[in-house]
């Protein structure tokens, strides 16, 4: 699992893009077909998105940023709408996330996190900050008290895309009763005890379904721990 982890945008350290498969110019070319940014039809692969983000970080590349926006803004809007925000508030939240993407692009580290995990943490923290008006305590992987982690191996970096496919398959393969709870947690912003109330289930049932779901997801990832 090492390859997929550490998505916290404020905390990652280390070298930049180790994977070069296509140049940013090639990505641009590949996306000529998607001229109108913002309609969400330009579904890009994580590798492409990763390169766009690196180009924003290294070159302040506004074209790359526009293409990144074209992919993620409509999905983030859907995410905030699912959480109960109005269309106007969702638009505002997406703007805030995208401003942070621009400003904090250098904190994205391919190989240590996927673009989607990175952007999820930004979206989640914006909601906590702007809607709930709370601070978000995040763990520090560089905490001196934390056991020293091994640096990423090349194998771990290359495996990120594969792990992501496995994760997506594992989510799709969850039994309905487990998938429902996972969706409520992420999309409706409900805690496990609120989910229990919402579904009229005993707390213990919800807890055991969460445990089963998480162990399935980990098994799907080929747990390396």
């Amino acid at each position: 699992m090492r390859g997929l982890v550490t998505a916290n945008p404020t905390l990652r350290r280390g070298a930049g893009a180790p994977l070069v498969m296509r140049t940013t110019a090639e990505v641009h070319k590949a996306m000529v077909r998607t001229a109108t940014a913002g309609d969400g039809n330009e579904a890009l692969e994580q590798d492409d998105l990763s390169r766009l983000l690196i180009s924003v970080a290294e070159n302040e590349d506004r074209t790359a940023f526009a293409q990144f926006f074209g992919h993620y803004a409509p999905r983030l809007k859907a995410f905030f709408l699912r959480q109960g925000a109005s269309a106007a508030v969702s638009d505002d939240l997406v703007q805030e996330v995208m401003l942070t993407v621009w400003r904090r692009a250098k904190t994205f580290q391919p190989g240590r996190s996927t673009v989607s995990a990175w952007i999820f943490t930004i979206a989640r923290n914006k909601r906590i900050d702007l809607i709930r008006r709370e601070r978000r305590p995040d763990p520090d992987p560089n905490d001196p008290s934390m056991a020293q982690e091994q640096p990423e191996s090349p194998e771990a970096l290359v495996s990120t895309g594969r792990e992501q496919k496995r994760l997506s398959d594992a989510i799709g393969a969850l039994p309905d009763e487990q998938a429902e709870i996972v969706r409520l947690a992420y999309f409706e912003d409900l805690s496990h005890s609120t989910i229990a109330e919402r579904l009229g289930l005993p707390l213990g049932t919800v807890k055991s379904r969460i445990r089963l779901a998480l162990s399935r997801l980990r098994a799907g990832l080929g747990d390396k721990i």
Binding site: M1, L4, V5, T6, A7, N8, R13, G38, D39, G40, V56, E60, R62, A66, F69, G70, Y72, A73, R75, L76, K77, F79, L81, R82, S90, Q95, L99, W102, R103, A105, K106, T107, S113, V115, S116, A117, F120, T121, R124, P137, P139, D140, P141, N142, D143, P144, S145, M146, I171, V182, A185, Y186, F187, D189, S191, T194, I210, L214, R218, I225
Partner: protein
């Protein structure tokens, strides 16, 4: 050393998905700073969140949203920022996990500890956060906390020293969970004081006549 007692999976989910209130999130983040296993599981759950966002049917943004953004970025404080440097805090205490740092005004030794009972001191954090008691406790070596139960859930993260109750022995990084079904009488380890972060929903109760009588003195 990897902790033995972790936060429960459903708490990791609440934390990673973002639904957990700040006081308990502070405890989970502090534990994860001392526990690479839980830190990694949180990252996995963030990857799940990313996958779920990717799976959503896109919703069209408002007209002009991108142009509005393009007009803002690159100036007026919206530059691409350099990679964040480690900020040097005004005080350093290696016993305090990073997430907890900004919630504590001074190092542990200089905190305004308030005596609650013989050998038991506390310092409140996150005072304004309704519905939760967020406290640091400092237990003198070998002190016994009076037998008590809880109206809500209580999570305790050990920062220094250790303590034992009927369920186990807890040292730095370990999390002890208690709920209304638990009545316990924790005993601090000998040696150094046991400093722990305790987050409680609802107050502690001391059952029985003896508990009622001593409550004014040991109400935790």
């Amino acid at each position: 050393m990897t902790p033995v007692h972790h936060v429960a999976p459903e708490m990791l989910l609440d934390y990673a998905s973002g639904s957990m209130p700040e006081p308990m999130a502070l405890l989970v983040a502090s534990h994860a700073s001392l526990c690479s296993r839980c830190a990694e599981q949180i990252c996995e759950l963030e990857a799940v969140g990313g996958e779920l966002i990717d799976s959503l049917k896109p919703e069209a943004m408002a007209e002009g949203a991108l142009n509005g953004l393009l007009a803002r970025i690159g100036k007026d404080g919206y530059e691409v920022e350099p990679f964040p440097e480690q900020v040097s805090p005004v005080w350093v205490d290696p016993r305090v996990p990073s997430p907890l740092h900004s919630y504590i005004p001074k190092s542990l030794d200089n905190l305004d500890w308030v005596r609650r009972a013989e050998g038991i001191e506390q310092a409140r954090l996150l005072n304004d956060f309704a519905g939760f008691d967020t406290r640091l406790f400092r237990l003198a070596p070998d002190v016994t906390v009076p037998r008590h139960t809880h109206e809500g859930e209580e999570a305790t993260l050990v920062l220094t020293g250790g303590f034992s109750d009927a369920d186990g022995h807890y040292v730095r990084g370990d999390v002890a969970m208690a709920d209304p079904s638990v009545t316990h009488r924790p005993i601090a380890d000998p040696g150094e004081p046991c400093i722990n972060l305790a987050v409680t929903t609802g107050s502690l109760r001391l059952p029985g006549l003896v508990g009622q009588l001593i409550k004014p003195f040991v109400k935790l």
